[in-house]
Amino acid sequence: MEILKTKGIAKHFDGVHAVDSLSIGFEKGKITGLIGPNGSGKSTLINLLTGVIKIDGGLVVVGNNEEIKRLLPHEIADYGITRTFQDVHLFEQMRVLDNVLVVLTKRNVFASLFETHKKFHLARAEEVLIKVGLWEKRNELAKNLSYGQRKLLEIGRVLAMQNGFGDDSDIFFFDEPFAGLFPEMRKIVISVIQDLKQKGKTVILVEHNMDIIRELCDHLIVLDSGKLLAEGLPQHVLSQKSVLEAYLGE
């Protein structure tokens, strides 16, 4: 069953079609790899599906066939969608712990002013920070973390994330989460993604390392110039001549 799909979704910048009438779907409970050469539209697609940029045409279908023409960034949490960014976006002058606690806050202005259940928030933040190996750094400012730690904190933040009804998120977009990580940190991220799959969550992974794609992904989508070039099982897709030519330059 497809938990998220696009129907002819499009985005253009000054006449350049970054995403060109793209219709694809993401299977519930699976890890889907999203690959393609630089400028193929991977990050633009994620930005469209998370409301960060406006959709120029087409539809997004979430869950039970709810068709959406316009997604706003603050609405995606209610659909159970969360994401990391290609260029890490942390709350730099806040503590590591607060970077996680903030996404657990009630989203209504007045409810957040008089919020209770803070012990639950702390327990949850502790759980995810231990998972990504940053609990010892909880009182450091985010800006003082190393590049790899920053990536891990961003991943920890999406793990803590819940939808508007207090349930864990269902759809996780990871935009190049392994870039610039040491082997030990890679192991942590691999374990996080595998855990999510075990819990029945849907993961969409943008990644350039084909070994990781082969190891983790159940399904692979290849984009080129904003269009679908190929999709299917990773081992099949990665052996297709068109993919090798467009993406790997072979």
Binding site: E75, H89, V109, N163
Partner: protein, 273 residues
């Protein structure tokens, strides 16, 4: 009070607002007009000032929410000038440059605050209440979201926060607190005119919180104390009387430049601009 109110907007939320003197002025004028023309109790006038300032700031905040960064600062700058021009030119209401004299001191249940000492106690009580209100806001989960907006609005939005509501709420709360300060100012001086609420006053309040420390409520109070006491200290330096006022401005400017160079977070600040 003024510094703490601006610190909520600039220090905690990262909205570089240069319009706080306008809200301070609205509070002062509403109090002045209600006390001199209608003779109502100071505290009722104060509440009316808070409500009117809240409504006006909601409208201004909504318009300003369309801007970000430097454009927000420029827009807020423009609003201060508009409000100042209204004080100056709506003569049937504000008496324009003549100002409004004869503003009464507060009285409450037979207590008369005309004596300066009692007035001081009243203002200190209000300042303490504003401090605890600011602490409550900034230590709450709401306050944490404000800081996240300051750090990266795009990122906090994708976690489900409609940042417009959070920014508008704190902007209006900040304006309402400023209006309280304006009401006390009007009653203390017993006279208001537009020159007290010009752009330079907004810049002065900004200087106060940058000196004391952004995103720190105690820092805002310390900044206010430093910059209010500083002119008195400068009297002892012995500048010639014809340049003393200008030298005061030069000193403020110099302090700000030195702070930006060597301690951009201010004396007690937790956030660098």
């Amino acid at each position: 009070m003024l510094a703490m109110s601006l610190n909520l907007v600039v220090g905690f939320t990262g909205l570089l607002s240069i319009t706080q003197a306008a809200f301070y002025g609205i509070g002062a004028y509403v109090t002045a007009i209600l006390l001199t023309s209608f003779g109502i109790n100071f505290f009722l006038a104060l509440i009316a000032g808070i409500i009117i300032t809240g409504i006006i700031s909601l409208a201004i905040g909504y318009v300003l929410s369309k801007f970000n960064g430097d454009y927000f600062a420029l827009g807020s700058f423009g609003f201060n000038i508009i409000v100042y021009s209204i004080f100056l030119n709506w003569q049937s209401l504000t008496r324009g440059p003549l100002g409004i004299p004869g503003i009464a001191k507060p009285t409450l249940f037979g207590l008369d605050f005309s004596e300066n000492n009692y007035f001081l106690i009243l203002v200190i009580i209000c300042a303490i209440l504003v401090y605890f209100l600011s602490e409550f806001i900034t230590k709450s989960s709401f306050g944490r979201v404000l800081k996240a907006i300051r750090e990266d609005e795009k990122a906090i939005q994708v976690f489900g926060y409609n940042t417009l509501f959070f920014k508008l709420t704190i902007f209006v709360i900040g304006a309402m607190i400023s209006s309280v300060a304006g009401a006390f100012y009007a009653s203390y001086i017993t006279y208001v005119d537009p020159t007290s609420f010009a752009l330079s006053e907004s810049i002065f309040i900004l200087a106060v919180i940058i000196l004391g420390g952004l995103a720190n409520n105690k820092g805002a109070m310390i900044g206010a104390v430093c910059l209010v006491i500083l002119p008195e200290i400068l009297r002892f330096v012995g500048f010639p009387s014809d340049i003393a006022a200008q030298m005061r401005q030069v000193t403020y400017g110099l302090i700000l430049v030195l702070l930006m160079l060597y301690r951009p977070q201010g004396l007690m600040g937790e956030y660098k601009l």
